[in-house]
Amino acid sequence: MTGHRSLDWVLAMAPYRRDADYLETLLSQYSVPVRRGTGTQDLEALLDDRPGVLIATHEALNPEVLEIVRGHLVAQPDWSEMPIVILLDRLAPHSRIRTELAQAWPRSRQLYYQRPVATLELISGVQSGLLARQRQRDVRDHIEREIELRHELNHRVKNILASISSIFEMTRRRAVSVDQLAQDFSSRLAALADVHAAVYEANGEPIELARVADLTFEPYRTGGQHNLVSRGPAVFLLPQAATTLALCLHELATNALKYGALSDGNGRIELDWTVSPEDSLLTIRWVESGGPPVSAPSRSGYGTRYIRAALQNLFGTAPSILFHPEGLRCVVEGPVSRVSAKHPNA
């Protein structure tokens, strides 16, 4: 058990007469929880519960206890060093016991008192031990958080490498020359990098759909052209949804530049989205007009393949991609909750 109470209680090993009673009464006056290790059989279980401080009286120090405590100390995690308060009789061979325990109990901070002990002295010894444990616990939490972050980072890097590998392999399929492969691949990678930067800059906050649209259109908005229009209500996208939509819009925009509304300077693109108030259905429409006449390609390329698979995966329903003679149209519809962290009206 490693509940929040770990490291903040005292394990008292005081088998002689009423010693344990006395310790418990004393420490409870200072609000320090105490549990007693009465026999060797429950000692291991108590140690597994992570005591903050051990108190051992002279009478408790038999070979079996020494060995059990040693086992626990040796198995401590790196950040842990057990404070141990040892109470010895006046006539006990102090230096021999110290030497022996220094050997037997590694990675512990041993504090010796001679009985009878002044109450305040013992209390301050225990409290400084508990304080040391609090600092150790902070170190532990810090280490655990760092390990977690490293795992998370590793997972993300793997995911991004897999994404890039997919982009490369799929770009390669349709490439007719090395130059074209390099150009298409790097522009897709740039789109991925741009949306990654936007997601990172948002610092864990959702990104507005309008911001994703701007990212996509920015490279094409040269010379104050007004042939690219985007409008819609505030929709706050989750990072994965923002990435997917940005890559879809990138494919639509590059397609428009090669064959569609952006290819001859006369065309126009309208990107708009709505959220229906009654069922919170998000509809995104990409409509091109005024470009050269459009006809369906003989086989679907990277862009259409990606948009179909990605939007189906994201919204749970396939988009409609229509090669209308006046211009390409792409429409997708799905619950806004699938892409959005919070509803703008919420």
Binding site: H155, N159, A162, S163, M170, R308, L311, N313
Partner: protein
């Protein structure tokens, strides 16, 4: 590749669309049928297409959390075999009893080809 055998019907549980569309193309290259994809365990449960397949490819981390193993167990109970596709092989191995095997990411075509055949002959595992 397996010209004599009938094509397999494959569903894919994965929340990264870039990987979905790549695997879709690879599955089709191998002469099999890509039935569709879902990004979460919840979507799989609500998708009737996913049950009319020869096998399901399952990622470990999905849009609704680390639910891949749960999804594989859910499919297993319904007699539908699955194979993990993941960069987290260690976690996949913990759940080896509910899936036929694991394909590492990034996915190599030859590995995918060989592992998909497990859906035909689970005994090959």
């Amino acid at each position: 590749m397996q010209s004599s055998a009938p094509p397999l019907r494959i569903f894919y549980l994965e929340d990264n669309p870039l990987i979905v569309f790549h695997i879709e193309a690879m599955v089709e290259d191998l002469g099999h049928v890509f039935v569709g994809s879902a990004s979460s365990f919840a979507d799989l449960v609500g998708n009737t297409q996913a049950l009319e397949v020869d096998g399901v490819l399952v990622d470990i981390d999905l849009a609704d959390g680390r639910t891949g193993p749960q999804a594989a167990a859910w499919l297993h109970e319904r007699g539908i075999p699955s194979i993990f596709v993941t960069g987290q092989e260690a976690i996949a191995n913990e759940y080896g009893h509910v899936a036929l095997g694991t394909i590492g990411k990034p996915v190599a075509l030859s590995d995918l080809a060989r592992k998909l055949e497990l859906f035909r002959n689970p005994i090959l595992r």
